[in-house]
Subunit: 403 residues, 2 copies
């Protein structure tokens, strides 16, 4: 098999762990597999480099910051190649400009556009392990770019797609994807297999185990992803295309996020274009709006409620207050509530099962948890509740749907 | 003017010093000069990175070690570009693969073969300061190479040659080149101007202020080098082609090195080919032999005395012992002495002055310092003396020739 293995920062945090990673790679090689490795910076290194950059130029997000932080992965790539050779194997490191991981020029959050598989397949043909610095690429001018936090996951899956690997193994410090956060739900269990669609929802709803864009990339290019621990040999969680012949669980996972805030604008005139005018300044200010609910209200006006990242809440209220005072007749009654939690259930089985929402509401009602907002997609139901019920809601839904 | 400024590790050791370097560069820019900067790694960083590499693979000197250590200069280049922008200027960093500093593939001691001046002159045309990561290049396969300790000096002079700069300023932690090491000779004084030839001799005889290959590069390409302090505005030492109209001092500088050892092989048969056979194993072992003296001895045999780096002495004796036992009739009497110092006087004025050697020997005799070996070149006389006289010899020659 042709395998891409991606190791995160905690898996390469020390020289000892880098040796362990070298042993894992050599083990695969000795089983006859072709091995390409993608590495992150040693844990803490990216923050150290960003801190240096911040000391000379506060708030800079640009070309030069990428030049600085990209060195973290470069060092790990060199070290792992040396460690593999020290252990008796053969390896060569590759940087973004050497594999030609071409990206756009959006520094600190660049997107991969193309990859030159040639140098990698040549390396594999020479029966050598290829070690790639994750998280980075080059743009059309040859400048170094970085893909944003967790970008090495995306590098791994993109490389796997480019060289037609059989799968991309994401080695991390947990054993796989769980039905809920085991720190909150003690009886949460590891998921053996999950579809790309479900993983996408889970990743965007707070499951930090796999980067959202990596899942998208895997889905779009049909690259199976195996999320597993770098500290045990046990199989982890396979993320793959849905198997239509297999019955799917109604709910695969339950998540909660507590980093959002709820904003309500009352008495907005019920005329065309008002929503656009209301949300324009938020969009212009780079604030991402998540759930949006519009209630019909009396007297030709409506109430608009939506959620934003908690860190954006204060700025969003200021922008809205300014905008509302400019909208003739617009309500000035803006309230914000940071004490909320978004609890979600995710599962492709929902498509073919009715009554899932009803059961969810029933379970929450059974614990007297009031639902403030509801949002649904084909394979997901999210509700906003008071933050103090976050953990109770998560455990209740997990017990009701999964265990 | 078009200026290349090179800053060493101590000049960029802290964020505060990087800000100071940014101010120096902007000051030159504001005087209307075009400015290209070459930077080393922050002091201590190269050693930290080498230590990491050594922990995973002892004794590795290769491609992957270069991948690791090259990140030191990369970080400084990004930081300085940010610092210049923070101070109100405009700057862009360049790495070895972006300026196409093409080298051979001798990792850890690569030699520059060519430089693509295009990206730099474009940058200057945009009235921007170019910041180049020193010490590194790429070979014909696109692998990162490094130029060896002090290689950033060479990068600076090579860049200056490639873009036809008016001069290369080497900023360091001393104020210039001195007539002797001021730590040993208190009345040593800074040299205002010195020829490439003299600087070459001084650099190869232990003056650490400027890297030997940088001086060679400057001489071969006619790039004036200005060695100066990054902590004061005072002019330093100009290294330039000799001005034939100017009378030159007989002796420009006095140096001492104490890192060599003397080896004597007695009773070597006085026949053709013996010297070759004797030195072959040393050459094959990568041991560099410095001064060589052959004395005629009685009975058809000669004594051969030469110096090697002190760190190579033990290995050289072992190789010679093995070789002598294979040479029929070769003497087995091999002695080594690590307690020696090589004291030298350097000056282009020697060419047109007689009696310089006589005066040197007279000065040393006046202090009862015995001379063990002598070696001369057109502009240099070196003598080997007992190490305990090293400082006395240096001060005596400095007082006799220079002050």
């Amino acid at each position: 098999m042709r395998l891409v293995k991606k190791f995160g920062g905690t898996s390469v945090a020390t020289i000892e762990r880098i040796r362990r990673v070298a042993a894992i790679c050599l083990g695969s090689r000795e089983q006859g597999h072709e091995v390409v490795v993608v590495v992150s910076a040693m844990a803490g290194e990216t923050n150290r480099l960003l801190e240096l950059a911040t000391q000379v130029h506060q708030g800079a997000i640009d070309r030069e910051v990428d030049v600085i932080v990209a060195t973290g992965e470069q060092v790990t790539a060199g070290l792992l190649a040396l460690a593999i050779r020290q252990a008796g194997g053969d390896a060569q490191s590759f940087l973004g400009h050497q594999v030609k991981i071409r990206t756009d020029s959006a520094h600190a959050c660049a997107r991969i556009e193309s990859i030159d598989a040639g140098p990698l397949t040549d390396c594999l043909a020479a029966r050598r392990i290829a070690v790639i610095a994750g998280f980075q690429g080059i743009d059309s001018t040859g400048s170094i770019t970085t893909l944003g936090r967790g970008g090495s996951d995306t590098t791994g899956v993109a490389i796997a797609a480019a060289i037609a690997a059989d799968c991309c193994e994401i080695y991390t410090d947990v054993e796989g994807v769980f039905t809920a956060d085991p720190n909150v739900v003690p009886n949460a269990r590891q998921i053996e297999q999950i579809s790309f669609e479900e993983m996408l929802e889970l990743a965007s709803l707070g499951a930090k185990v796999l980067q959202l864009r990596a899942v998208e990339f895997g889905m779009n290019h049909g690259v199976p992803i195996h999320v597993r621990s770098s500290f045990t040999d046990r199989p982890g969680t396979w993320v793959n295309t849905e198997d239509p012949d297999m019955e799917q669980p109604v709910v695969s996972g339950v998540t909660v996020v507590v980093d959002e805030a709820k904003i309500t604008v009352r008495d907005v005139p019920d005329v065309a274009g008002v929503a656009w005018k209301l949300f324009s300044p938020l969009s212009d200010g780079g604030i991402i709006v998540d759930m949006i609910i519009q209630n019909i209200s009396a007297g030709g006006t409506v109430d608009m409620t939506f959620t934003v990242a908690r860190s954006d809440c204060e700025r969003a209220v200021a922008l809205l207050t300014k905008q509302c005072s400019e909208l003739t007749g617009a309500g000035k009654n803006i309230t914000a509530d940071s004490g909320i939690a978004k609890v979600s259930i995710v599962g492709v089985g929902m498509r073919s099962h009715s009554g899932v929402a009803k059961k969810m509401f029933e379970l929450l009602a059974g614990e007297s948890i009031n639902i403030q907002m509801i949002s649904t997609s084909e394979i997901k139901i999210s509700v906003v509740v008071d933050e103090k019920y976050a953990e109770l809601a998560l455990r209740t839904l997990h017990d009701g749907f999964i265990v």
